[in-house]
Amino acid sequence: MSTEILMPALSPTMEEGKLSKWLVKSGDTVKSGTILAEIETDKATMEFEAVDEGTIGEILVLEGTEGVKVNSPIATLLAEGESAGAAPKKSKKTADAPVPAGEDHKVVADKGAEKVVAPKTEVAADPEIPEGTEFVTQTVRDALRDAMAEEMRRDELVFLMGEEVAQYQGAYKISQGLLDEFGDRRVIDTPITEHGFTGLGVGAAFDGLKPIVEFMTWNFAMQAMDQIINSAAKTRYMSGGQMSCPIVFRGPNGAAARVGAQHSQDYSAWYASVPGLKVIAPYFAADAKGLLKAAIRDGSPVIFLENEIVYGRSFPVPKLDDFVLPIGKARIVRPGTDVTIVAYSITVGQALEAADRLAEEGIDAEVIDLRTLRPLDMDTVLASVKKTNRIVTIEQGWPICSIGSEICARVALEAFDYLDAPPTKVTGKDVPMPYAANLEKLALPTVDDLIAAVKAVSYKE
């Protein structure tokens, strides 16, 4: 009986991919290690090897097909003596099926952060973008790359350094194509030496260069924490304003999917507590572009927190020659009257989904995307709370001393008389990130958690 060869998951965040090329055809004999196909993931083009021996029966997915779901059958494999017509057997949950198929597929889609469906609600227009501007649809990944490329074209002093940013084209492909355009003087592969290259970047910035330092993930930046805080953030103050550090530190922050405790931490609250740093955490591609360009031009050190799961999401980006957004301005992405939901980064998507579902139950939520975490745009938050009289914050980070803690405290201090319910926060759980899929899901804030919190402050159980 033939078995199915399934579309493999080749990265922690991959949910579907492109079958770029078949390297075998029906009738070919294969054995363990034979390269069957080239598959394009959300990060790279990878070779896919056979695990079992046999003969290729039928090719089920033609090469060039995009959007092939992980675990869907792409070919059949015949055992010895079988003919191509043999009925395929459902593959077992083993080796070449890294995640279970069939009914369990929902679990796959939900791995890591909760699967966020595209919100049905129209996202409110950004008042910073002139009316009548044309938009193009772009992934967050491409928007970030374009921001860097545009600023590097504009200013010779801007350069990018980090692990795998040049020849490898970026561990998450954010710097794709930059080496070709700008050369190895300005797109620099570093050794794995976070403490060292962070300090080196700070020194270059003291001299007036404008480095973009990419951390493969923010988890690795803890090795460089002293240089970020003591050297980059404090020097302008300690020098009485003489010396600045125009540097951008950027990379993916927060949980990816199934990468465990040491690779899944949201550092937003840590950096947002430090005077001397600016901290940006965008969700939409337009914000990623406009704010990264602003960060590169800023004279102060900027912490730019991206999100791996969001990299592949597509959003409209204004078609403007030089689109730069102001740092420190939140945006109301969905106006509403009944309750204020404050979110940033990936949780903006969750907040919009929650708002849609709440609308069906008659609760009209206003969703604020903070975009910048330091300086925090409390004016926008307070104005909204004064209108809705209720606030719920959502973030992936830990609950204690979180961004939500700060916002709830400020709202309690500055808008106490306007509140009809206690300011409430939805956060990640107070635990290191577990590996097991079910526990990881439990550790992260969900749309359901948010909806429950909104109902609680609305006294509608």
Partner: protein, 324 residues
């Protein structure tokens, strides 16, 4: 570097005068600390003057300097106004950092002095980054990156060595080996005590230099500058030196004997010995020295007066200079 001397004799006199200024300045700073006019930590450079003066004698316009918290001497040698340095020590508005940095955190973009860093070893990658900027800009400047025998055991030093050699960055790593990392001697802290060899596994050449001999330091500095300016990458200069005072003003230095200190002061004092040489060679006579001493003393007294008479920073300064 500033006020470039016209003749060899002038340049020798300048070396002597610069060392003397640092010595007298530091003595006065120690006194002001004792009077409660300087607060916090205060690390004096007394005994090590030949290192920075000799190296600045080898530097050119545009070369950068960066060091740790024992930094007053480096600033004076860079030509920074002693008044501004002393006023920073007393935390006054006229200080180099307008009173917000203190002894360990001072900077001068104008004089290419990049601090003044309070965290042991942190200045090493930053200095490597300054050298990176020189290469990026395509100029011929070199960054003098100073650190001590204590910092030489920090991991980031070796991360920096690796990148500096890999990318051939124009940086001179000056290891000021004063033999004690606070209270821990080199023998008790370092598996290999020859710091000039610390770059060997990265292919970085190193030289041991008598850091109490200003001319030997200058010569080694000039050779190292040639190496760096030729695009050959980094080089290490281990300066064998000695600090006379404790690690900071609050350190009684019980970890070494009085005899050890006395012997260095009597036999190896950089200023005393160089002064004798200048007299022997006829560059200066006793009268010149006396006049110079008076001149230096006047500068230091004026800086102390300035530093004690200047006002403290305005209270509004608390919230300035945080963002560019």
């Amino acid at each position: 570097m500033p006020d470039a001397p016209k003749s060899n004799s002038d340049s020798l006199k300048k070396l002597y005068a610069d060392m003397l200024l640092i010595r007298r300045f530091e003595e006065r700073a120690g006194q002001l600390y004792g009077m409660g006019l300087i607060g916090g930590f205060c690390h004096l450079y007394i005994g090590q003057e030949a290192v920075v003066v000799g190296l600045m004698g080898a530097a050119q316009e545009g070369d950068q300097q960066i060091t740790a918290y024992r930094d007053h001497g480096h600033m004076l040698a860079a030509g920074i106004d002693p008044k501004a340095v002393m006023a920073e020590l007393t935390g006054r508005s006229t200080g180099l950092s307008r009173g917000k940095g203190g002894s360990m955190h001072m900077f001068s973009s104008e004089k290419k002095f990049y601090g003044g860093h309070g965290i042991v070893g942190a200045q090493v990658p930053i200095g490597t980054g300054l050298a990176f900027a020189n290469k990026y800009r395509g100029n011929k400047s070199v960054c003098l990156t100073y650190f001590g025998d204590g910092a030489a055991n920090q991991g980031q030093v070796y991360e920096s060595f690796n990148m500096a050699e890999l990318w051939k960055l124009p940086v001179i790593y000056v290891i000021e080996n004063n033999q004690y990392a606070m209270g821990t001697s080199v023998e008790r802290s370092s598996a290999v005590s020859d710091f000039s060899k610390r770059g060997a596994s990265f292919g970085i050449p190193g030289v041991q230099v008598d850091g109490m001999d200003v001319e030997a330091v200058q010569k080694a500095g000039e050779e190292a500058m040639v190496h760096c300016r030729a695009g050959k990458g980094p080089i290490i200069l281990e300066m064998k030196t000695y600090r006379y005072r404790g690690h900071s003003m609050s350190d009684p230095a019980k970890y070494r004997s009085k005899e050890e200190l006395t012997e260095v002061r009597e036999k190896r004092d950089p200023i005393e010995n160089f002064g004798k040489k200048l007299i022997e060679r006829g560059v200066m006579n006793a009268e010149d020295m006396k006049a110079l001493d008076a001149q230096v003393k006047a500068i230091v007294i004026a800086s102390a007066e300035f530093a004690t008479e200047s006002p403290e920073p305005g209270l509004a300064e608390l919230y300035t200079d945080i963002y560019a």
